[in-house]
Symmetry: C2
Subunit: 305 residues, 2 copies
Amino acid sequence: MEAQFIRWLRDNLPSHPLLVVGPGDDAAVLGSTGAEHTVLTVDMLADGVDFQLAGTDPHLIGRKALAVNLSDLAAMASRPLAAVIAVMLPCGNAYELGQALYEGMLPLAEQYRLAMAGGDTNTWNGPLVISITLLGVPTGSGPLRRSGAKPGDRIIVTGQFGGSILGKHLYFQPRVEEAILLHQRYRLHAGIDVSDGLSLDLYRMAVESNCGAVIHAQSVPIAEDAHRLARQRADRSTALDHALGDGEDFELILAVSSEQAQRMLAEQPLAVRLTDIGQFVAEPGLWLMDEQGNTKPLRPRGWEY
Amino acid sequence: MEAQFIRWLRDNLPSHPLLVVGPGDDAAVLGSTGAEHTVLTVDMLADGVDFQLAGTDPHLIGRKALAVNLSDLAAMASRPLAAVIAVMLPCGNAYELGQALYEGMLPLAEQYRLAMAGGDTNTWNGPLVISITLLGVPTGSGPLRRSGAKPGDRIIVTGQFGGSILGKHLYFQPRVEEAILLHQRYRLHAGIDVSDGLSLDLYRMAVESNCGAVIHAQSVPIAEDAHRLARQRADRSTALDHALGDGEDFELILAVSSEQAQRMLAEQPLAVRLTDIGQFVAEPGLWLMDEQGNTKPLRPRGWEY
């Protein structure tokens, strides 16, 4: 329903002279009368949807709520500036829960020198809901968009994919510094963070860029937890399936020219590994290519609302 | 619990060079390297707490969610710039509900030339939750704070109070233009909007200003709906009780010097009436003064979380 609703929003929300990037990208960009633009993003997380409060340390939930927002700023290659936090806390131990959530956020906030600009704290009889709005500023290279990938561009990813439910979804490090460094050092055409699934988020990027994408199956960096999950599950899913569809990896997908890709891969400027997993193509759609070079259509999979 | 939690936040959130005003006021103020500061505010509303979805036109709920945030910017005498909106929509008719909420916001957004900077739309099995973050910019007079009232200052209010549950809480006009005009034309020492209750919000202003306040009972402008509510309710509450404690009036309380108050009252520069309802005093506390000049302590009443 979200895709349909975002289309409706795009058609029905009035344009605004200050709105450089409106709904539909990883974040919105607000122009200003001065030189600096502001990047805005929000994520709302709820118990039973994005986490299970029962059985999870609330510090980790607070951390995750902030980290997923930081990942959206990373996807825009923008520097975090300030956070605004609203919560609905279930009655009972609301005070302790609220404290634990904030305590979970503070180390990340400190790491990124985020101004915690206050918020709204409520209690109710419903489940825990957390909404965080982040403000950021793009680097001199401007905000990194989802659109902008060109046919022939290489698909470069950070890190590994799949099986994040076994732990990474709570402990991941948003790729903020990585995105900024890459955006400053190389000519990135487009970028997105993988929140819903490698294949689904890559497909979104291709759609926004009016092109298609081919993933080379043997090139996808598969996380050890994707292998573990494939062994655990009796549904005959492979580790590659998990890498392509699990989501919550919070790694980056980037579109760059072949020449830039060669430089990036040779230089490997990050602590985390950069991998070339395929290329963008003119024909709209998504394909998986096997070792023999045979391609078949790939259904974009991942967390759809 | 909110007051206690905000104290904890104030003690535990790290200070930040960009944070001109942190948690505890009507909005936060973010400094910038340029000349302009950014005012930030968020309000989260939930079904069963701030509205009853069953039996209420969702357009009015969307309007209210935006209007309460605009009222917070009014309390800072700041001009609205952009809105970021996150929702948890109950499954079922989520799409139609989401549309109606946004449609309810759009006329207000247009009136204040707000950039609708996107958001996050989710569905779940829980009740409707809406969180709106607003960005604004203060006028040349700077952001209007809750603190700053001085003993001897007059207490000036816009409009009338009480009984808003009979309709005004859904239809009210946030006092944005009024606050900006007053802040530019007069020297306002402090200001707040009445969301939780005239006596409670005035008390908050006094506490933040390290002083007390005396309300003149016969001067409080009582709304017709406060009288209606007093007649309807069998609990012997008076219209004045409703004016002092109902909340959701979304009028302004301002602290100004006697001399400025005289000018404001003589000039009455707004379409809505300005009224002097008492004065700030050195001794911390809140009092109600009757027609004979007798004062008695007044318990700050209103919507406490």
